[in-house]
Structure formats: C-alpha cells, structure tokens
C-alpha cells in the first residue's frame, strides 16, 4: 500500500497538548466528507517497532518501502476498525497531539500527508498541561510536575525543529491566539490548506454534536473563548522557575516575553 494507493486522503493535526489541536480537528470536522479520528493509537504498531527499541530510529531510517507498506496498511486497518468508511475522496483527519513526538515516523510513513501544527504561547501550554490530568503514559507522567512539563515541551519543540532542518517538515502553523482573534480568517486558511471549502457552518464547530474525547472537550463545547489566553500570567510567580527554559520557544514563536 504505497501512499498514492492509500484508501483516502490523510491529514495530521499535530502540536503539543493544550495547544489547540482539538479545536482545529473540530473545525475540520464541520466539513462534509471529513472523518476525524481523535486520540486513537493508529500508529501503535509502527511506534513499537521504530520508536521504543534503542535501535528504532536506525530501523526507521533503513526501512524499505515494502516494509513501510506493512505499517501503512496497519494504520489504515486501524482506521477501518474504528468504523470509518473510506469512500473515494474522503479526508481522514488524524488529530492526536501526542503524535508530535512521533513526527519523524509520520514523515517517513506518510511523506505526502499535509500536517497542521497548532501553536500557542508556550507558557500557557506548559501550565495547561501541568494543571490537567491526562490518561497516564510515559509522556503525560512528565506533566505531574511543572518542570517535567516544561522539559517535555522543550524536547518536543527541539524535535520538530530538527525535523524542519533535516526532514523537510513544513507544516501549516496556526496560532491558537490568532484563531481566537480572527476565527474566519484562520479557519479559512486551515480549510484551504486541507483542500476543503469554507462556509458559515464552520463557525458552529462547537455545536456539531461530535463526541469529544480529549481533555479540551468541555472548553470546546462552550465555543470560542479567550479565557485561556495569557492564563499563565496569573501564575507568573509559580511559573518563574521554568520561564528561562521556555524563553527560546517564546521568542521562536513570536510571543512577547514578560
């Protein structure tokens, strides 16, 4: 199953957790012929082979197309197992924020798949991860301390930078704050990038009735809100120990420091 023979178009929504990935997925899901898959372990088999073992990255680099085809087929089989019908022209949106740590794997398995990357002020992101309880895994365990959350954020952003430099990672970046400030413009950019038309129905993303399975679900259902913008400032004193390590990313993504 080489990529051109894939059963549907595929788009990934990535970004660090609490960066606005759920909102982006819900916007795309308002369009017809879009199947949204949130937080599903669709890459589990490939992760177990190419990521978890110490020689995983070397295996990934050396894998033949025939070998990769097996993992692509497993991915699509898992999509089908979730009851997703795949008629011609359907767009499957895979929205799992934690898949950002699997970016090299995604780029290798699905080099033609467009990627949307959610950005938000790193300080709000890190504080948001620290304050929420996620289903436990090796990554969410890092969120049990503010320092752990900040470290994982920095490590993950460094991985994405390395992928830009070495693997040609060129996503569509959508800043959560811009989306909140000018929803129509940013959602139009998003839909255009995904090859989808845009109309007024996109504004009603929060009334779609879609089941929301991420920790952002309750907020998304209330619609667009700027309540989370700059929330870290009320905790600036408690955040002080991690602000220096976040500073490079605050600068890199163009947020004012201080």
């Amino acid at each position: 199953m080489t990529e051109p023979d894939a059963p549907a178009r595929l788009l990934f929504v990535l970004g660090f957790p609490r960066s606005g990935t759920t909102l982006l997925g819900q916007i795309l899901a308002t369009r017809p012929r879009v199947a949204l898959l949130e937080e599903r372990p669709l890459l589990a088999k490939a992760v177990a082979h190419f990521y978890d073992p110490p020689d995983g990255p070397a295996r990934l680099a050396a894998a033949s197309e025939a070998e990769l085809d097996g993992y692509r087929a497993d991915f699509w089989a898992r999509v089908a197992a979730h009851g997703i019908a795949l008629p011609q022209g359907r767009l499957v949106v895979e929205q799992t924020a934690f898949n950002t740590v699997y970016l090299p794997l995604i780029l290798r398995l699905f080099p033609a798949a467009p990627i949307v990357f959610a950005l938000r002020d790193p300080r709000d992101v890190v504080f948001g991860c620290f304050r929420r309880r996620f289903a436990p895994n090796r990554f969410t365990l890092e969120f049990s301390t503010l320092e752990g959350a900040a470290q994982l954020y920095c490590d993950t952003m460094q991985l994405t930078e390395t992928c830009r430099q070495k693997l040609g990672f060129r996503p569509l970046e959508i800043r959560n704050e811009d989306l909140i400030a000018d929803f129509d413009h940013e959602s139009q950019r998003l839909c255009a990038f995904a090859g989808l038309d845009w109309n007024d129905a996109v504004r009603d993303f929060h009334q779609s009735g879609h089941t929301l399975t991420t920790v952002s679900g309750p907020q998304i259902r209330r619609g667009l809100s700027d309540a989370g913008v700059g929330q870290w400032r009320r905790y600036a004193q408690e955040m002080a120990p991690v602000l220096p390590m976040l500073r490079p990313w605050v600068d890199r993504f163009g947020y004012p420091f201080g």
Partner: protein
C-alpha cells in the same frame, strides 16, 4: 468503584451458560490489566453466547470507554442496565461519561440513581462534581471535591485535587490552586510505575538520532 464483581452481577450470571460466564470474567481481568481491546473481544464473545448477560455488557462498555469510544460505551452500559437496573457501577460510569460530554442533566440523573443504590459511591460523586464545575456551581462542587480528595484511591484523589485546583482558580485563589495542581501531580506520579525510559528521554534519543542522520541513511530526501 464497583465493577464486575459488584452487587447483582453474581445473580445475573447464575442462569448464564458457563462459557459465557468464563468469557465475561476473562473480559473483567483483561480490563483490569489494561488490555481493553482483548477485553472487548472476550465480552463480545460472551454476549454472542449469552446476549442478556449484564456483566458482559458492562465489561464491553468499560473496554469501549477505555478505548476512547464514549458513545459506544454508553450503549453498552444502557444494555447492562436494561438487564440489571441495580448495577451501580453502570449508573456511575454513565454519569461520568455524560458529565465529560457536557450533558449535565443526564449526568446528574445517573449519578443520583447510583447514589440511591450505593450512598457514597465515589464515581457518582465525581460525576456530580464534574457537572457542578461545568455549570459553575462552585459551592456545590467544593464539598464533593474535598471529600473525594480525602479518599484512598490515588486516581480518584488525583483527579479531585486537579478539579479542586480549577475551583480555587475560579475563586481567584491562585496560590491554593497551584498547590492543588501540584498535589494532584504528586499523587498521580506516586501511584504509577516509572517507565524504563521517560517521555523526555525518548524524545531526546529520537532527536539525537535524526540529527546524526546522513543523506544516505534516510530513505527519503534529507534537507
């Protein structure tokens, strides 16, 4: 929270074919071990033999819920309750799913059913606290969260402390909110085994590997 072995489960099993009972117990064990996909298969197999087996419906619901399929889980729990209306755990789990989906009226109704059957059921109290927070009824949420944060179950305690942080945040008591978040993280961390390789360590290992790639070593063109 009461699950498979709770009240009513044994009575409904007594009239079921033995292989279905065995499969449902297998589903129970697999769910407890975190093998939810296999648990779902075992529960489905039990239901193929004994479609009226309430505990098997419950285990199927639990597996669906853990697999992040909340609406499928709702269907299974309702099937369980049709056959065994006194199953407290199914009421409590339905209450929590509805609360998480913002359906607070339904959440409260199922939670009240659960509490009528088992006063003090922690799952039902959690659902009510979630609904309270969702509807900004902070004064109602506070005693429930304080009670939940005092329970022994670390998962429940951690979630309750996190919500208590949100409550303090909404009250503008940020110092107490931060302390509650920190306590929630500590409880959660202490109750879970450390992975052999932490998340950050894995990401750094992968990054180093990508940084050291040469043009020949990657199957796709390098920049």
């Amino acid at each position: 929270m009461q699950d498979f072995h709770g009240q009513g489960a044994a009575s409904s099993q007594s009239s079921q074919p033995q292989d279905a009972v065995s499969l449902a117990r297998q589903a129970d064990s697999l769910n407890a071990l975190g093998h939810h996909r296999r648990a779902l298969r075992a529960a489905s197999a039990a239901l193929a033999v004994a479609p009226d087996m309430a505990p098997a419906w419950f285990q199927a619901g639990l597996a669906q819920q853990m697999l992040n399929h909340p609406e499928e889980a709702v269907g299974c729990y309702l099937e369980a309750l049709r056959r065994e209306p006194q199953m407290t755990a199914a009421h409590a789990r339905l209450a929590n799913i509805h609360a998480l989906q913002g359906r607070y009226r339904e959440a409260r109704a199922f939670a009240q059913h659960a509490l009528a059957l088992a006063p003090g059921d922690a799952g039902a109290v959690m659902a009510l606290a979630r609904a309270d927070l969702g509807e900004c009824r902070l004064d109602d949420a506070e005693p429930r969260l304080l009670w939940l944060a005092d329970q022994d179950d670390p998962m429940l305690k951690s979630i309750a402390l996190g919500f208590l942080g949100d409550l303090r945040d909404a009250q503008g008591r940020t110092g107490e909110a931060f302390a509650a978040y920190r306590n929630a993280g500590e409880v959660s961390r202490a109750s879970l085994p450390s992975p052999r390789e932490s998340g950050s360590a894995q990401v750094r290992r992968i990054t180093r590997a990508i940084e050291s790639l040469t043009a020949q070593a990657w199957g796709a063109p390098l920049q």
